[in-house]
């Protein structure tokens, strides 16, 4: 594995050596050979440490075989010499290479240490394995260039066992060993001794990966940090490269201070946190193991919380900060930095406990945050605009009512509300990130479901009783929405409304981006602002406006239109279906499909998806509308199974309501069939039933279903009876229907066996996996899943520090809202439930993840898990491990 290649030198390696014996005060050469040092079994269970030298010329002959005994007084002299007294005779081994000498010496030294520690003799407690538990207090080799190999080996050996790591961490701290090592870096650099630098790098890595909080904090202290990262610039894994960590961290200009932070300790903490992030993201990125990752993360986290809390509590600091914006003499650069400063505070504040977070935001708002946001939104520099939308986003995510209150005041005082500023920017902004955050904000601020008071309880997101949204609980919010519809909504949707007078449907790149966002906002408003949005859609003939987009050249705009129509269809609201048919929308969509269909592309698929979303059983009127007005188009499309079936159904039932309700009910009771056809039948019927009884439910944003996904998917299935026509039809390649086709409509797979001589594999009739009870459970579990997700998210964002404009996709926004209620779980989030990381502490841990976490979760994100849980889940279970 490449993460940390351990040059494994066993003591059994042969080292070329000359053996000397002192005779008559003269060293007598006994010959040249290869030296080994190891435990030799002399009897059963009896082992002796011995040094053996095999003759080079005659491998069978031993030049030396000596037992290592305590009394012999082995000594290492210089780099290549080991001397001792063997039964009164002075002996010496002269090694050809220092490495070899070192290796043999390590063994001897180790054995001698054992003698001192254990006194029990070599046969008890000694084994071949040198990496055994070490005594709790240890002696580190002196920090010198000459002993680097020694140090490296000692550290590596000790760090194998938990007790060794503890002892090592203690020893390094108590001896201030890091400080002793640091000068060696420059010395080695001066000598251009790459080997030493590589050893130093390995040593530093081992020290940091000891994963001791105190040690890591010490390593990033002002005194040590440059030396520590300096050593790690020379990674032996990349012998040809040198990193420039010191240069990066030494650049004082990176630290910006908008308002002087008086407390030295806090300032130190800020620097330290930055270095920790650097360590985590850059220096150690490749080799970080899970425990160290979580230690670094929690250090960063606690530091950040402390810093923000301190600044929040420091009297006068906030006033000074916001005074920057009021002072006309202040340089624009400083104002810009102040916005980004607040942005970073908001990013960090996401990790605070809710009361602290509330306090901080309250403080911000009291100091005049809304004008600052306003200032930022209009700033020419995009980073400032990003900052402003980000700040707004963090507060909205936590508690939109904090911002809403200001907006109520603004409208009360007849000032332009903040929403107007958002709209203005949305319409002209070029930055996609800002655009989607603004979209998100305009949704949240206009959400009529205002909680009673205080920080939002769970039910804001989740478990509102059905239909409650009809009664807006907050008259102020209601008044604001009324005001919004009166003054702002037309401005917001202006690009859409302007289409009416537009001579052509040619858009430039700047213009055409807006419609997707407007569609998203409008769909939200339609779901939530029942009568007002209906009025708006109706009065401004919105369906026709979107219909116009079908005529433009850009396919992605046509897609926007179709998506809007499908949204209305899926609401299953007679008002909107009627609106669509009154505005004769189905014709253009059919035309679009006809125009596109020879091609199999995204547009044709979207059109088909639209039509398969229509529930003809539930809305006979709509079916009639389409058939009576566009029959020729449907006929023209009848080479598509779906439309063929539609025609057939229509011709068969001719205006009569099909009275198969009771039968279907029975079928449904049976449960989802085993054959896929049956499954699909049930789905389609379920959709039908849901659409009747859950009409209301689908109308507003209730959350036990996915806001977008589920409904759509249910509706995506074509009515099943037509599905298995496929084979017959394809065989002929034309639209002529055989009688078989008709029977197929009734009998799912029957025709298949007729068609093929080969025996057909029958699907064993196992019920499809997702039983209803399970499904319900899993839906409930979503919340847990979301929490977990949030913790992951938070981990990332907090560590990123520059958490600019996180997640503004629709779902992301929702998730953030949810996550914000669970801050008290921070620590577990910090401690990183190991899912996010690929690394493994071994198969065991990963196995646990794959089994204990993954099955419960439903969210897409959490399931991604560690590679074990994700891609290798089965491998791990199979016992392979990764």
């Amino acid at each position: 594995m490449m993460a940390q290649p351990v040059p494994h030198q066993t003591t059994a390696d042969k080292k070329r050596v000359k053996v000397y014996e002192l005779r008559n005060n003269d060293w007598f050469d006994r010959g040249t050979g290869f030296c080994t040092a190891c435990f030799v079994t002399i009897q059963e269970e009896q082992k002796e440490p011995r040094v053996i030298v095999q003759s080079e010329d005659q491998p069978d002959r031993l030049l030396l075989e000596t037992k290592i005994v305590k009394e012999d007084g082995f000594q290492k002299q210089q780099d290549t010499l080991i001397v001792w007294t063997d039964n009164g005779v002075d002996m010496a081994l002269s090694f050809q290479e220092a490495d070899g000498c070192q290796a043999i010496w390590k063994f001897i030294d180790h054995v001698q240490q054992q003698f001192q520690a254990a006194m029990g003799g070599p046969d008890d407690g000694l084994s071949d394995d040198l990496a055994m538990d070490m005594p709790t207090s240890i002696q580190l080799p002196p920090a010198e260039l000459g002993t680097l190999i020694d140090i490296e080996n000692t550290l590596r050996n000790l760090s194998q066992s938990p007790s060794g790591r503890d002892a090592l961490a203690k020893a390094i701290m108590s001896e201030d060993y890091i400080a002793k090592l640091i000068p060696l870096v420059e010395m080695a650099e001066d000598m251009e001794s790459l080997g030493d630098l590589h050893h130093l790098c390995n040593i530093m890595k081992t020290v940091v990966l000891l994963n001791d909080t105190g040690l890591i904090e010490h390593a990033v202290s002002d005194e040590c940090v440059l030396g520590v990262v300096g050593a790690m610039e020379y990674d032996p894994d990349f012998p040809t490269h040198k990193a420039n960590h010191r240069q990066w961290l030494n650049n004082q200009g990176r630290y910006k201070e908008v308002v002087r932070i008086q407390d030295d300790q806090v300032r130190r903490k800020i620097h330290q946190t930055y270095r920790l992030q650097y360590l985590k993201d850059v220096v150690l990125a490749r080799i970080l193991d899970d425990p160290t990752f979580s230690v670094l993360n929690s250090l960063i986290f606690f530091n950040q919380v402390e810093i923000v809390q301190h600044l929040h509590m420091t009297p006068g600091f906030m006033t000074d900060l916001f005074a920057v914006f009021g002072d006309p003499t202040v340089q624009p650069l400083r104002k810009k930095e102040a916005v980004i400063f607040i942005q970073q505070m908001c990013a960090i504040s996401k990790n605070l406990q809710p009361p602290a977070r509330q306090g901080l935001y309250g403080n911000f708002l009291q100091q005049g945050l809304v004008p600052v946001i306003n200032y930022g939104l209009r700033h020419p520099d995009v980073t400032v605009r990003v900052g402003a939308t980000d700040i707004l986003g963090s507060i909205l995510e936590f508690d939109p009512s904090m911002i809403r209150k200001t907006i109520y005041e603004q409208t009360h005082r007849k000032q332009a509300p903040l929403t107007d500023a958002l709209i203005d920017l949305l319409l002209v902004e070029v930055d996609l990130g800002i655009k989607s955050q603004l979209t998100e904000s305009l949704k949240v601020l206009l959400d009529p479901n205002v909680p009673g008071s205080g920080p939002p309880p769970e039910n804001r997101e989740g478990f509102m009783p059905k239909g409650k949204h009809q009664v807006s609980s907050d008259p102020q919010q209601d008044a604001f929405i009324a005001h919004f519809y009166e003054h702002s909504v037309a401005k917001l949707f202006k690009p859409l409304l302007d289409l009416e007078k537009r001579p052509n449907m040619k858009f430039n790149a700047l213009e055409d981006g807006i419609f997707g966002y407007l569609n998203e906002i409008l769909c939200f408003y339609i779901r939530h602002h029942t009568f007002r949005s209906k009025h708006f859609v109706f009065d401004h003939n919105i369906a026709s406006r979107f219909g116009q987009l079908l005529a433009c050249k850009q396919k992605h705009l046509q897609l926007v239109a179709i998506r809007f129509f499908r949204h209305l269809i899926l609401l299953r609201d007679p008002f909107f279906t009627k609106h669509l048919s009154d505005r004769r929308i189905f014709g253009p969509v059919l035309d679009t499909l006809l125009r596109t269909l020879p091609r199999d592309n995204l547009l044709s698929s979207a059109c088909l998806d639209f039509f398969t979303s229509i529930n003809y059983e539930g809305d006979r009127e709509l079916a009639r509308h389409i058939m009576e007005n566009y029959r020729e188009k449907v006929v023209a499309l009848s080479h598509v199974d779906y439309f063929k079936g539609m025609l057939m159904r229509w011709d068969q039932s001719r205006g009569y309501t099909v009275s198969e309700v009771d039968e279907e009910d029975e079928v449904r009771g049976v449960g989802r069939g085993a054959m896929m056809e049956h499954l699909a039948v049930d789905q389609a019927q379920e959709e039908y039933w849901n659409s009747v009884s859950d009409d209301e439910e689908e109308n507003h944003h209730h959350h036990h279903r996915r806001p977008t996904g589920v409904v759509v998917n249910g509706g995506k299935l074509p009515l099943v009876e037509y599905t298995s026509d496929e084979e017959e039809e394809g065989g002929g390649g034309d639209a002529v229907m055989t009688t078989t086709t008709t029977t197929t409509a009734v009998d799912g797979g029957g025709s298949e066996s007729k068609e093929n001589e080969k025996p057909v594999v029958v699907v064993p009739s196992t019920p499809p996996p997702e039983r209803l009870s399970e499904k319900r459970r899993r839906e409930e579990d979503e919340d847990d899943a979301l929490d977990r997700l949030m913790q992951h998210k938070r981990r990332n964002s907090s560590s990123a520090g520059s958490n600019s404009s996180l997640g503004s996709s629709g779902v992301g926004g929702m998730l953030r809202k949810k996550g914000s209620f669970h801050n008290n779980n921070n620590n577990s989030g910090k401690a990183r439930s190991r899912e996010g990381s690929p690394n493994g502490g071994g198969g065991g841990g990963q196995k646990k993840i794959a089994i204990s976490i993954a099955p419960v979760l439903k969210t897409a994100v959490v399931r991604a898990g560690s590679p074990a849980a994700e891609e290798g889940g089965r491998e791990v279970r199979g016992g392979a491990g990764i």
Partner: protein, 466 residues
């Protein structure tokens, strides 16, 4: 040199291109992808690749082993991003190549091509670091929404083309007999598996395949009874060994039907339809999709949903079970051999190629070679120690296997598809044409050598206030 070529050159050097260029690129890609069906039709020859996961240098190694674009026609089955340190460069390079050579490069969506997943598993952070804002991430996510959900490979030959083993390989075997060939990165043949019923004895040490490449797994890499049975004696040609007959291997899969039913693997050759098409998806099958054309009814331009057909295609896994099972991933399903066989039969597929799961050997055939997992990220996450593979399907030059697909993809097959009929995937009357699915050549390769990958690290935050 066009801007695009310049961008390609820059990305090949693993240097990100400027934000504006990314926007431009994504814009072009969108126009191109919007014209692709949910299931793209690709004609053989094609080289099919699995997950990449931001391992840029290994992607370069992949191109070295598999041939460069546009000389080789590539199909990537998703998961370009996350995990590795170079998601951005990897994805943008693939996208550039797609825009530059639309016909030689097919990209389909993986479960990691999603906003939610990339926020957690690295791509988002990487973009933020490399550009200082999340815009590039947004551009890329927009493109993700347009990526096709699957691909159908038509016209794959049931014999291997020349050139797999280059020099240094084993003695040539009658090409038509070879069903599977495994090569290493140096173009040497590691092993060959003959078609069942072939008279010639198998060539190079078949057993070595099982012995060497499996890492702690139960079954040998091409998980077929036959190869397991032949690991000691070269009995490659014995048609009698089937799912039940492999004594030495792991317990025979219990999900096979009665002998002779077609589900047991005993009915000769690979199960699946001869010369049939190959379906490529990232994850697997969905209970909501019983037929490939149903995939075409999805409006795919959306974030990957949490459930439903689109989600399942990107999340499901095959497993040794009967029917469908809950997935431990929490999304998608597990599906058994029976499901695959029925699906392949119904859709005239000879094989489903998918990615999504790490396999230590780089590839793994399951269920009588009716489905294969291809994994193209060697030493996954820089520490899993696995090898990677790509799957080559060669072109059928007999003229019998190639069928133009009538519903045209633009730039593919016949663009306008005159007849306008949405035909079945393959003509039924080809059933008797040959005896097994396409011949498959797997090229197995290792992680790019250390020196060439530079120092992986994230770009640190430049300025800080707190």
């Amino acid at each position: 040199m066009s801007d695009l070529d310049r961008a390609i050159a820059q990305l090949r050097a693993c240097r990100p291109i400027p934000e504006n260029d990314v926007r431009e690129l994504c814009h072009k890609a969108r126009e191109l992808l919007i014209e692709e069906g949910n299931v793209v039709t690709v004609n053989a020859p094609v080289t099919i690749c699995g997950d990449i996961h931001g391992q840029f240098h290994d992607l370069m190694e992949l191109f070295r082993v598999g041939g460069d674009v546009p000389d080789t026609n590539y199909l990537f089955m998703g998961d370009f991003v996350d995990r590795g340190f170079y998601s951005l460069e990897s994805f943008l390079l693939l996208l550039c190549l797609k825009v530059r050579y639309p016909d030689r490069m097919t990209l389909i969506r993986g479960n990691h091509e999603s906003r939610q997943i990339t926020m957690v598993y690295g791509f988002y952070d990487e973009c933020l670091r490399k550009y200082g804002s999340a815009n590039v991430w947004r551009y890329c996510c927009d493109v993700f929404d347009y990526l096709a959900l699957g691909a159908i490979v038509l016209g794959a030959s049931n014999t291997l083309s020349e050139g797999g083993g280059g020099g240094g390989g084993t003695a040539p075997v009658a090409g038509s007999d070879v069903e599977i060939e495994v090569c290493n990165a140096d173009q040497q043949i590691i092993s060959r598996f003959l078609r069942k019923g072939s008279s010639s004895a198998s060539s190079s040490r078949e057993g070595s395949q099982a012995g060497e490449s499996q890492v702690g797994e139960g079954g040998s890499s091409p998980e077929r009874g036959r190869t397991e049975g032949s690991s000691n004696d070269a009995a490659g040609g014995q048609p009698t060994t089937n799912g039940f007959g492999d004594g030495g291997g792991p317990p025979a899969p219990t999900n096979t039907g009665p002998p002779g039913s077609g589900a047991s693997g005993a009915s000769g050759g690979s199960i699946g339809n001869p010369a049939g098409a190959v379906l490529c998806v990232h994850g697997g099958l969905s209970p909501l999709i019983d037929n490939v054309d149903k995939i075409r009814l999805l409006d795919r331009k959306q974030e990957v949903p949490h459930e439903g057909a689109m989600c399942d295609l990107l999340w499901s896994d095959p497993d040794e079970i009967d029917g469908w099972g809950l997935s431990p991933r929490g999304a998608g399903f597990l599906f058994g051999a029976d499901i695959v066989k029925v699906f392949n039969h119904r859709n005239d597929l000879s094989l489903i190629a998918r990615a999504h799961q790490l396999v230590m050997e780089g590839f793994k055939e399951m269920f009588d070679a009716s489905i294969v997992t291809v994994w193209s990220a060697p030493n996954y996450c820089y520490r899993c120690g696995n090898v990677a593979a790509l799957l080559e399907l060669s072109e059928d030059d007999s003229g019998l296997g190639v069928l133009a697909r009538s519903n045209g993809d633009v730039n593919r097959s016949d663009g306008m598809g005159g007849q306008g009929s949405r035909g079945v995937l393959m003509e039924n009357d080809l059933l008797g044409y040959n005896t097994a699915g396409p011949a498959r050549r797997y090229r197995v390769f290792q992680a790019a050598p250390q020196d060439s990958r530079g120092m992986p690290a994230k770009k640190p935050v430049a300025d800080y206030f707190l």
